[in-house]
Symmetry: C2
Subunit: 109 residues, 2 copies
Amino acid sequence: MIVKESTLDQTLIALADPTRRAILQHLSKGEARVTEIAAPFDISLNSVSKHIRILERANLVRRRKKGREHLLSLAPEPLDEASSWIESHRALWSGRLAELDNLLGSNKK
Amino acid sequence: MIVKESTLDQTLIALADPTRRAILQHLSKGEARVTEIAAPFDISLNSVSKHIRILERANLVRRRKKGREHLLSLAPEPLDEASSWIESHRALWSGRLAELDNLLGSNKK
DNA sequence: TATAAATTCACCCTTATGGGTTAATATAGT
DNA sequence: ACTATATTAACCCATAAGGGTGAATTTATA
């Protein structure tokens, strides 16, 4: 049973797919329509549409409608949380391992 | 069809689950057995075992057997790749958005 | 108004996740 | 040799992902 489903979860899930990372990279060049985003991929427009929904769920992408076109743009804020989680743990863990290596090293007879 | 299945994918998938992040956090205090890791959770030992397998698949956790006990320990290296992907894109995107804000700001009559 | 374009919706299929339970395996200890 | 412990294996179940197709919806345009 899912209790909370944090935004961090959704962000990491969204980033854990190469197609979605490519979509984000495309959007880093500026606003784009769904069809434009889909063009480089040889999967259906529909699949791309679903990937976009997952990116929206994670608040990594925003949509604004202009007539029949849906214009997508980046919203990088969620990356802050993901980045800080990973970065803080990375620092902590590397530190602990280094410390452990020291202990083992100095115990070596 | 999955073509490559990068280590970055596996790392992000592994991190995108709160149970697995909690396991990593537990392991940051040092090597531990599967049973010890499972204790704080009210899910079955078996479920925890599966989570650990996913962490191993991402090379975030290493296992060494000592008799009937399996001792798990952290291997933080994969975090480097994840961190650098996110961090570099975060920087890029925030930059672009700031730039865009500037343009819009200066165009405002 | 009729048609074309841009998207999504509603389905289908397959595979993976995350949970469970009940064996099976391997090792420790008596 | 038994028995208990630590862990995985082999299943079952439900749900979500990731892909597809074809219809529906909305808006632009001839």
